[in-house]
Symmetry: C2
Subunit: 250 residues, 2 copies
C-alpha cells in the first residue's frame, strides 16, 4: 500500500479551503485550536488503495482533504454495494463505540486525509460539546442523504436513479469550486455507478447514453457538465432546491 504520512509543517486549518464544508465548519476559531491539536498527521493514498476494510476496528478518524473516496460493502456473491462517494470535507472512519466498521473505503483518486487518533479524540469530546454537536449534525446529514438515496433506489427506474446520482455529485463538487460553470471531473466508472445504484454496467451504459442523447448531461473522458440542472432534477424526480440543501453544507 502506497500510503505516506506527513507529521510536520501541517497546513493550518484556519485557511483550509474546505473547512466550511467539513465537520469543523461550525466550530469557531477559538475552539478550532483545540481541535487542531487532535490532528496528528496528514496521510496520502494513491488511487485504488484501500483506506480501511470492513471489519477493521478504526484507530483514526479522517477528514477527507483532497480527492474522492468510495465507501462500499462486499456482497456474498463477490459483488459490491457502494454506499456513498465521499468528497473533500467528508468525515470518515469515525465510530463512537469500539465496534468494527461495516464497510470498506477505497481511494478513487490520489487523496489526502487529515488524521485524528480516536482515543484522544473521544476523551476530548466531553470537554468540547461543540465537537459533539458537530458530529451529531454530520450524522444527521448522512442519515438524510442515505434515506434520500434509499428512496430513489427503491422507487424509481434506472434513468431516475442515474440522473439523481450524477446531479447530486455535480452539485456537491461544484459547491467546492470557484468557477461553478465549468465541467467537473468525475473519477468514477460506469461500473461504479452500477454498484452504487444496483444496476448492471450494461444497463447503466444504455441509460447513461440515453441521458446524453437527450442533452440532459454532457460527458466525455470523465468530464461531466450539466447544462440545465432544473431539467435533470425533473428527470431525477427531486426538487432542485431541496437537493441543494441536502448536498451543500452551509
Amino acid at each position: 500500500m502506497a500510503r505516506k504520512f506527513i507529521t510536520q509543517d501541517l497546513p493550518k486549518c484556519e485557511n483550509c479551503a474546505i473547512r466550511k464544508s467539513s465537520l469543523f465548519g461550525e466550530i469557531d476559531t477559538f475552539h478550532l485550536d483545540k481541535v487542531r491539536e487532535l490532528r496528528t498527521s496528514q496521510i496520502t493514498f494513491n488511487a485504488g488503495d484501500y483506506i480501511y476494510h470492513e471489519g477493521d476496528i478504526p484507530t483514526r478518524a479522517y477528514t477527507l482533504h483532497q480527492g474522492w473516496v468510495s465507501l462500499f460493502k462486499t456482497l456474498e456473491d463477490g459483488g459490491r454495494q457502494i454506499l456513498r462517494f465521499a468528497l473533500p470535507g467528508d468525515f470518515l472512519s469515525y465510530k463512537s463505540s469500539n465496534r468494527a466498521l461495516d464497510h470498506s473505503a477505497i481511494a478513487l483518486t490520489d487523496i489526502t486525509l487529515c488524521a485524528f487518533p480516536l482515543d484522544r479524540f473521544k476523551t476530548k469530546l466531553a470537554d468540547l460539546p461543540e465537537l459533539s454537536i458537530a458530529i451529531s449534525s454530520v450524522s444527521e446529514m448522512t442519515i438524510q442523504r442515505c434515506y434520500s438515496t434509499l428512496t430513489t433506489i427503491a422507487s424509481h427506474n434506472a434513468e431516475v436513479k442515474i440522473a439523481y446520482l450524477l446531479l447530486s455529485l455535480y452539485i456537491r463538487e461544484t459547491s467546492l469550486k470557484q468557477n461553478q460553470s465549468e465541467p467537473i471531473h468525475l473519477p468514477i466508472t460506469q461500473e461504479d455507478i452500477g454498484d452504487a445504484l444496483g444496476l448492471t454496467t450494461i444497463h447503466v451504459n444504455r441509460t447513461f447514453k440515453g441521458l446524453q442523447n437527450k442533452g440532459l448531461i454532457e460527458c466525455n473522458n470523465r468530464n461531466l457538465h450539466i447544462p440545465d440542472q432544473t431539467n435533470l432534477a425533473e428527470v431525477a424526480k427531486v426538487n432542485l432546491e431541496s437537493l441543494k440543501k441536502l448536498m451543500v453544507v452551509v
Copy 2:
C-alpha cells in the same frame, strides 16, 4: 387527531422495561435523573394518527414507549417510501439543527411516546456529554441499518428483500419480549412491506406466499413466526449473527 397528553404521575424511567434498548440504555442511574427532568409528558396516539409531517420543524423529540410507528417520505406521484419501522425504544423527531423534518411519521398501532421539549433538551446537551454520546451512538446505529437496508434493496430480488425485512423486525421485536419463541404481532400490511421495499403489493403477496409455502415463515392474521432463523437468514443473504448485532441494542 386523537392524541392525549399525560403530564402527571409519569412512570419512572428506572423501572422502564425498554430503557436498556433506548437512547438511555447507556446512561447510568445518576445521570438518568437529569435526563428524566427533561421529559415533560407522555403522549398517546391512536393507530393511523400522524405524529409529525414532512416539513414540520420539530419542537419535541420522542422516545417510543409502546407500539409501532412507520417513518416515510411522500413521493411526487403520491406514493410512499417507508424509510423504517420504529419499535419501542426508538428515538424520533430529533434534529440538532433547526431544520425541517425530511419525513413523516404515522402510528401503526396505538402508541405511547415520552416527550422531550427540544429547546431545553439542546441547552442541556453541553452539560451532559453522556447524552451527546448516546445520541451519536443511536445515529450511528441508524446509519448502519440504513446502509444495510440500502444494500438489500439495491442488490437483491423480492424474496431476499422480504426475508430480510421480516427477519429484522422479528429479531427486534422478540428481543423486547420475555418469551422469545412465541409468534410476534406484525401490525403492518403487505402494502406497507411493498412501500418499504419498493415493490407492488401484488408482487409482495406472491413472494410472501412463496416464503410461506417453503415453510420459511408462518403467518396468519398478522402473527408471524419464524421456525428457523438461520434458514431465513440464508434466503435473506445475511449472516444471522451480524444481523442480530445490528438489530438488537445490547
